[in-house]
Symmetry: C2
Amino acid sequence: MSHTKTYNVAIVGATGAVGQKMLETLEDRNFPINELKLLSSSRSAGLKMSFKGEEKTVEEAIPESFEGIDIALFSAGGSVSKKFAPEAVKRGAVVIDNTSAFRMAEDVPLVVPEVNEEDIKLHKGIIANPNCSTIQMVAALEPIRKALGMKRIIVSTYQAVSGAGTEAAEELREQSQAFLNGEELEANILPVKGDKKHSPIAFNALPQIDVFQENGYTYEEMKMINETKKIMHMPDLSVAATCVRLPFFTSHAESVYVEIEKDGVTVEDIQNLLAHAPGIVLEDDPSTQTYPTPLSAAEKREVFVGRVRKDLDHERGFHMWVVSDNLLKGAAWNSVQIAERIVSNEWL
Amino acid sequence: MSHTKTYNVAIVGATGAVGQKMLETLEDRNFPINELKLLSSSRSAGLKMSFKGEEKTVEEAIPESFEGIDIALFSAGGSVSKKFAPEAVKRGAVVIDNTSAFRMAEDVPLVVPEVNEEDIKLHKGIIANPNCSTIQMVAALEPIRKALGMKRIIVSTYQAVSGAGTEAAEELREQSQAFLNGEELEANILPVKGDKKHSPIAFNALPQIDVFQENGYTYEEMKMINETKKIMHMPDLSVAATCVRLPFFTSHAESVYVEIEKDGVTVEDIQNLLAHAPGIVLEDDPSTQTYPTPLSAAEKREVFVGRVRKDLDHERGFHMWVVSDNLLKGAAWNSVQIAERIVSNEWL
């Protein structure tokens, strides 16, 4: 991007898994920053982080931190957003919030730029960044929906531990080494930090991401269901999700079944739509065993799609495999991307 | 089991991942054995294995190995089965074959005892043991199908490396340690030994199990689709599968969507059917975070089911999570179970 105007930007939760990626992404994208403020809880205040070769000190977030801030990127948990986002807005900042605190609020746009960029301008100070597993799915499905309509989605996820934070990633590392040494596995974080019971993730799979809801679905599953309908503006779209935590560090993968509204569509038609869609990379060639994997997608900003197949029994059914870095497109990059669109469209 | 009659039993492929489990299972179940023969390729001949505290020497399989054998359990790859199964049958043995060599042959019963035990008696010498990922799914779905009918299945799998043999398990172990050491990952076996390209499985997910077919599905996916229809005697059942290899050693997990034929069915109805079904253990209580995982199911013979949920948009749709030890119910135990039924019903 090239700009004359520059902005005062704050990152709230700068030392977390997503906060660090926000900092890196702002640098990589050469975001037009005038002043950058790194904010955190009192626990992490005083830590140093590097931005464009300069050392920055992390400060404790207080309401006054947001004086003069134009854009505040939040990723420090829902309770921090609930406490400080209104303070930032009150002081004139636009908040881009990566937590679930405001996602389903009626007056808060929930945005994946490839899908509903226009919603950004409806903001009243807060724009919500969707859940990581939702973002990559709707980004991959939007070009299909736009061209062919959409009736139904059934998704089973394969999600990386970094989605549960740096402690969860550390837990996978420690448990993996213990397992290889033939030692007992100690579980304190996953599946959900602070939930009643913890289970080993190393060399295992946990069919629970976030806490259980009254209806037997997990909160992660309900996020995928409700956020997808909101982002796509399709309250009647049928969406079902099963979310599973797996022993890898980075990138979520998804086995997605989608039912479109047109007959006569071929795998090649779907592949063509994906190959020309913004932010999507088609990696799909069975003859050369080409498909995305969590490792191949890590540290990249795009959403990768492979294994596109037509259902053998249902004319309008297609299956595919969608992979993206959960900390980038799933979090930090989508947030910075929203900030870029705000700036380039002057929607501040 | 208590028996007066005893049988001469051969294991072909005794030194493999499944063969070893067959030997253990015959011992655990106190199968009525008169003579036990351990057979293998010339490469493994001469190795010693222990059975009921006795040391047995593995012999190279030749046609004459099957003289006097009553029951031959095969698990040494399709080409070995194609070569030696007819030789065993010719000499009067009943073959229980764990490879895909004969599964779809019209005159070969494909059997999961909890589903279609009666098919065993139609055998003409060979009975096929289904693919591991198929067995646990149909075992879990049969009680539902019987009571409520079944229209459609969509499954996404989470499969252990041991399904690809002991070398694949060793590869996961070596790559995992290398990754933790910050070293390069060397991939020579997975996703498919002998295929053109190999990718790391450690801290990754590979959406390819077995080779690709002309239609873009993998052979593993087509096995799940075709075998399910055959075992359930439902050629018109709609079945779709996406099969994914994951970095754990034992047990396959499956996210299963199923559409039944009746309205008004509740989650509790499905749970009750599963709780009282043979070979199934219901582990399903969100309030205590109770659900099966690959680690919790390992070394057990049952199929474990949890996360039963009703689809939020489709009255006849249900989602569930099915886990079982791929080397036991998925292979060795299902084979020995077939042998037990043959013996107890005198279907030899």
